[in-house]
Structure formats: structure tokens, C-alpha cells
């Protein structure tokens, strides 16, 4: 229900901000702890769009789109594709994840505004994801996420996420980890 203090673009109130922050922290924890079914089943809407566009290094003034080039994505997933990824991780035969990869997510700079759809929230947050594998294998990823949250059955859920990864060359052997 739209009220004056829920106008699109306005910062959310303090108690809503607290809910948003709790959601993002709990989501990060679920992913850190590999509780993927909790994430998929309890924290995402069924119409989720989950995207990570390819970073490109271009001169500031050169805006030309080259040939057939377009925004390419490292992730351009819907709920079904995210489910496939989780189902694969659940097979128990993903050799690259056994021994497990230790992922640690730090979420910060949370900035939440009411979206242009009643009751939905746009959240911008910065992230750092530390990945530790095997004995001393380390990778660090950082960037921002533009999220849209929607309340379903009294729970905030993630309805879309667009991830900006700052690195052009991804300094990791894969990023099969959720951001």
C-alpha cells in the first residue's frame, strides 16, 4: 500500500531499513554456510532475474556499440537456472568443491529506497567476497549489487539482482559462487 512516505526514490524508514539489512545479512550467511536450499526456497522470488554483466574497459568518450556486441553476462539466470546450479552442487560429485571452498561475504554501504512498484524496495549494497580453497588458494571479489526486494507471505525476498564486478579480468579460476 502506497503512502506518502513510500514514494518511489525515497529512502525507506528506519525500521524497514533494519529489515532490509537483516535480510541481506541472513542471505549472505545462508550462502556462506552453503544452505542453498534455504536461499533458493526461502529468499528468492520465483520470477527472479539474477545478472552479472561482463565488465568492459572502454575510453570515456567512446560509446560506440561494436558490431553485434551487446551486454554479455557471466550470470544471466532465472529461477530455473539458479535451481540447476544448486542441484549440481547438491549432487555430491562436484570435485572442484570437495574439499569445500570457504566463501566469506561482507555486505556494506546498504542504501534502500522505495521502488516504483508499491511495496518493493531497491537496495544498493557493496560486497566483498573472499574465497579460500585448499591450502592457500585465495581470491577476492568486490563490487556492488543493485537488488529489488519484494514482500511475499510476510517475508522479504529477492526479486532481482544486478551485480557489478569491478575487475575486468576475473582474477579467479571460476566464479561459480553466488554474490
Amino acid at each position: 500500500m502506497s503512502t506518502n512516505n513510500q514514494q518511489a526514490g525515497q529512502s525507506v524508514d528506519q525500521s524497514t531499513h533494519f529489515e532490509v539489512e537483516r535480510f541481506l545479512v541472513q542471505e549472505a550467511r545462508a550462502l556462506d554456510e552453503e544452505r542453498f536450499d534455504d536461499w533458493l526456497g526461502g529468499m528468492l522470488t520465483k520470477d527472479i532475474i539474477y545478472q552479472l554483466p561482463t565488465q568492459e574497459v572502454r575510453y570515456r568518450k567512446d560509446k560506440k556499440v561494436l558490431g553485434n556486441s551487446q551486454t554479455t553476462y557471466l550470470y544471466n539466470d532465472n529461477f530455473g537456472m539458479l535451481s540447476m546450479r544448486v542441484a549440481r552442487l547438491d549432487t555430491g560429485i562436484v570435485w572442484a568443491e570437495d574439499p569445500r571452498v570457504r566463501n566469506r561475504r561482507i555486505i556494506s554501504n546498504i542504501d534502500a529506497h522505495w521502488a516504483d512498484v508499491d511495496g518493493e524496495i531497491e537496495v544498493r549494497s557493496a560486497f566483498v567476497l573472499f574465497r579460500s580453497r585448499m591450502q592457500r588458494d585465495q581470491a577476492t571479489h568486490y563490487g556492488i549489487r543493485m537488488d529489488r526486494l519484494r514482500k511475499e507471505d510476510g517475508q522479504w525476498k529477492l526479486a532481482s539482482r544486478v551485480i557489478t564486478l569491478d575487475q575486468r579480468v576475473v582474477l579467479d579460476k571460476n566464479i561459480h559462487c553466488f554474490f
Binding site: L52, E56, R58, Y59, T72, N76, V169, D172, H176
Partner: protein, 439 residues
């Protein structure tokens, strides 16, 4: 460095582990292989207009490839002839010239030096600008795929591809040809560049095991390969190696097989509609190759999976590191919607976050890194599967083996590696043409 005939033995089946680790061998590869071979640069469809360019590397040499105002494509080394600074810092774009940020020398899109600041006052108009052209790269295209070489003595790109060109025509020479969707993803692997090339050129063996988890959840026709449960060498496919060092394995009737449900249906429909066109334009063999799924490599460091349609360059960054560039391969005349579906699937399977790509990375790295151990490195590695069972087929170029699980293309790749590393002139390197004469 040991002699080449010690580094690669038994017709390519045995490699000394040092070739995956030693710095002096790597530097020799840069000289004998990467400074001589035709290396993939870009696709014509990515730089269609005057002034469009892409930056890439040939070995570790930074180069720019640019469309000229006469429609031709030229490439040059991205290093100012004054003090060596780079003149281009972007992935690509459109430009009229490159200006070195150090002293302001200006180079045209053909690499020629067109302007130097203070030419009259400080150089007294005596600077020979023609002689200060950026180092040129020889460029040729095959069916829209643009390659470059530093070797003026190299044969034509078509001859370099040898028998592989005949096979690749199956999809490259369809009406309208192919295109690549970019900009490419880029990531790193701490492995030697040969590990992923040999994986793509012929390692069907790892598919059922390394990718078991992805095969299990993809549920497509290839799911039967999980854990090597089902495999028939007689009927499943072929492997091919050509003397030029390129090669591939093919699974019959499986081009669309790794795509999930709806995409597989749409892609299969496209293949079924196009097959008669391929047969008519080429022949029944190429129609069959058009309908199969390929794992393939163009020597030394370009790889692709036709069908899944991932297209990759393994850019060497020292003996134990590479950068991976990944594009999506599609046919130009495909409906836009189908191109997008294939592209999205390529990201899901063999992109940087891909469910199959991430299976391979750890294997590639450890295959290289284990050779760090001095005593480990004194040993050799073995790819003798199916050796002696290759045959000459009256109608197919190169050496053919039955089944897509084999190691013949890897052996062919290492035979070629050895020929180059021995420093042989082009006239003494093996060719498909010579092999054809044995038939």
C-alpha cells in the same frame, strides 16, 4: 633444456613434465610457436565499421586489430616506437587514431606514425616518421575469423589450417557464416597454456567423469555419459588430428545436446532446417559434422565447442598462468532469439561462472602446479589411448580414430609442438597435403 626428442616421445604419447613448467621452454615456445603461428585475433563481425578495433594479445605481445577505411583489417603491436609505452588501453571501440599518453605521438588506425609534437621546433623536421611505424602484424581471415602472425614466411592462413579448414567449413561456411558474440569474458587460470588446449582438442575421456555433476542435472542426451555408464566407440563419434596440429572429437547427432530443454528444441529445429542446405552446399560428410557436437582446438591456443558454442583463447601469461577469453559462437542467420538463448546457455555451461567450466579449472591448474616439485618434474606423462588405431579414411582429411573418447588429437598436437620447437622451417613441417598423398 633437454633435446626436443626427449621432451616429446613415442609419437606424442609421452611428454616430459618440464614442458609444463620450465621458463626456458616457455620462452622457446614464445619464439618458435607464438611468434610464428597464425593466432586468432577477432571476428570480422565484431569490427564492421571504419575505425572499429579490438585489443588482444599474440602470446604475450599486446596487439590492436583495426578495420581500415578501405574495409581491410590490419593489426599492429600496441607499443609506441618512441619509448615503448602502450598506445591503446581499452578492450576495443572506435577511434580515428591512437595517441600515446607519454609524449603525444599519434598513430593512425593502420599503425603509421602521423604526428609528433614539436616536430619542427625540436626534431627540426628531420624525424623519419615512416620508419617509426608500429610493428606490423600480418593479418588474414578465414570465413570471417581473423588471425595474425608475426612470421612473414608463414604459409597462408588456409594452408596453416590444413585439413581442419575442410571440417570447420561444416559450420563456418554455412550461408551467412558465423559470428562471435562479445565482448569476451576474461578470467585467469594458474595453468600452462597447453593443458586447456589438449583438453579441448581431444579429451573426451574427462567428460563422463569430471563433468558428472553437470551431466546429471542437465538431463539431456549426453547425461548417459555420466560416470562413463554408456559409451560405444564404434558408433558414438570420431576423433580427427591433422598434421598441422589442429584436431577435434565429435559426438554424432549431439550439437544441441548440452542445452537444456527449450533451447535444445529450438536449436535442434534450426539444425534440422539447415542440414539440407549444408549437404547441398558441401556434402553428406559435412552435414553429419554440422549435426554433431565438437570439442576442438586450432593449434596452438584457440579452442571451441561447436554445438555448445563456446569459443575460447588461452592467452599465455608465463609458464604457469593463462588468461581465458570466452565468446559465444553463433550462425549469423540464426534468429536473434535463438542466438540469445545459445549465448545464455554458453554462459551457464562454459562461461566464467559456468557449471562445466568450473569443473575444469581446478584440474587444469593442478595438472600444471604438480610439476613444481623438482622430483615430480623429472617424470613423464602419458596419453597413449588408442595409439596405433588411427587410420587414413579415403574421404576424410587427416588421421581419423573411432569414438570420441581417445587421445589421438592430443598426440597430434604434441607432435606439432615438437616440430615447431625443433625450429624447422615451414617447408619441413608436416602438412595434410603430404598425408593425402599416402592414400
Amino acid at each position: 633444456m633437454k633435446s626436443i626428442n626427449k621432451l616429446v616421445q613415442q609419437d606424442g604419447a609421452i611428454q616430459d613434465r618440464s614442458i609444463f613448467w620450465d621458463e626456458d621452454i616457455y620462452q622457446k615456445e614464445m619464439e618458435e610457436i607464438f611468434a610464428r603461428c597464425w593466432l586468432f585475433l577477432t571476428h570480422e563481425s565484431i569490427i564492421p565499421d571504419d575505425g572499429d578495433y579490438q585489443a588482444t594479445t599474440m602470446g604475450e605481445d599486446s596487439v590492436v586489430v583495426a578495420r581500415q577505411n578501405d574495409g581491410s583489417i590490419k593489426a599492429f603491436v600496441n607499443s609506441c616506437t618512441h619509448r615503448g609505452n602502450a598506445v591503446c588501453f581499452s578492450d576495443g571501440g572506435n577511434a580515428k587514431a591512437f595517441t600515446c599518453p607519454y609524449h603525444g605521438w599519434v598513430f593512425g588506425m593502420d599503425g603509421s606514425l602521423v604526428d609528433v609534437p614539436l616536430e619542427k621546433q625540436a626534431y627540426h623536421n628531420e624525424i623519419d616518421k615512416d620508419a617509426l611505424h608500429l610493428k606490423k602484424v600480418r593479418v588474414e581471415s578465414y570465413k570471417g575469423f581473423v588471425f595474425g602472425t608475426f612470421d612473414e614466411d608463414a604459409p597462408s592462413l588456409k594452408d596453416y589450417l590444413g585439413g581442419m579448414a575442410w571440417y570447420m567449413d561444416s559450420f563456418m561456411d554455412v550461408p551467412g557464416g558465423c559470428e562471435l558474440i562479445g565482448p569476451p569474458m576474461k578470467s585467469i587460470l594458474d595453468c600452462n597454456w597447453k593443458n586447456p588446449t589438449e583438453n579441448f582438442i581431444g579429451d573426451g575421456y574427462h567428460v563422463g567423469w569430471a563433468h558428472a555433476s553437470a551431466l546429471e542435472i542437465s538431463g539431456g542426451p549426453l547425461a548417459v555419459a555420466k560416470g562413463n555408464a554408456v559409451y560405444d566407440a564404434e558408433t558414438s563419434g570420431l576423433q580427427v588430428t591433422v598434421p598441422e596440429g589442429h584436431g577435434f572429437g565429435i559426438i554424432w547427432e549431439a550439437a544441441a545436446a548440452l542445452h537444456p530443454g527449450p533451447v535444445q528444441e529450438a536449436y535442434q529445429k534450426w539444425i534440422d532446417e539447415r542440414s539440407p542446405v549444408v549437404r547441398e552446399k558441401m556434402d553428406e560428410h559435412r552435414e553429419k559434422f554440422y549435426r554433431g557436437h565438437w570439442d576442438a582446438a586450432i593449434f596452438p591456443n584457440c579452442s571451441f565447442l561447436y554445438g555448445t558454442n563456446t569459443f575460447k583463447m588461452w592467452q599465455p601469461r608465463g609458464p604457469h598462468s593463462i588468461e581465458v577469453f570466452t565468446w559465444t559462437l553463433v550462425e549469423k542467420e540464426m534468429p536473434e532469439e535463438l542466438k540469445q538463448m545459445i549465448h545464455t546457455d554458453n554462459m551457464l555451461t562454459f562461461g566464467t561462472a559456468g557449471i562445466l567450466e568450473s569443473d575444469d579449472g581446478e584440474n587444469m591448474e593442478q595438472c600444471t602446479q604438480s610439476n613444481k616439485g623438482y622430483s615430480t618434474r623429472q617424470g613423464t606423462l602419458y596419453i597413449g589411448m588408442g595409439q596405433g588405431h588411427e587410420y587414413l579414411d579415403p574421404e576424410l582429411p587427416g588421421l581419423v580414430s573411432k569414438g570420441w573418447v581417445n587421445e589421438a588429437p592430443q598426440r597430434g598436437m604434441y607432435r606439432r609442438w615438437a616440430e615447431f620447437m625443433e625450429g624447422k622451417p615451414w617447408s619441413e613441417l608436416s602438412t595434410t597435403a603430404q598425408l593425402e598423398q599416402k592414400k
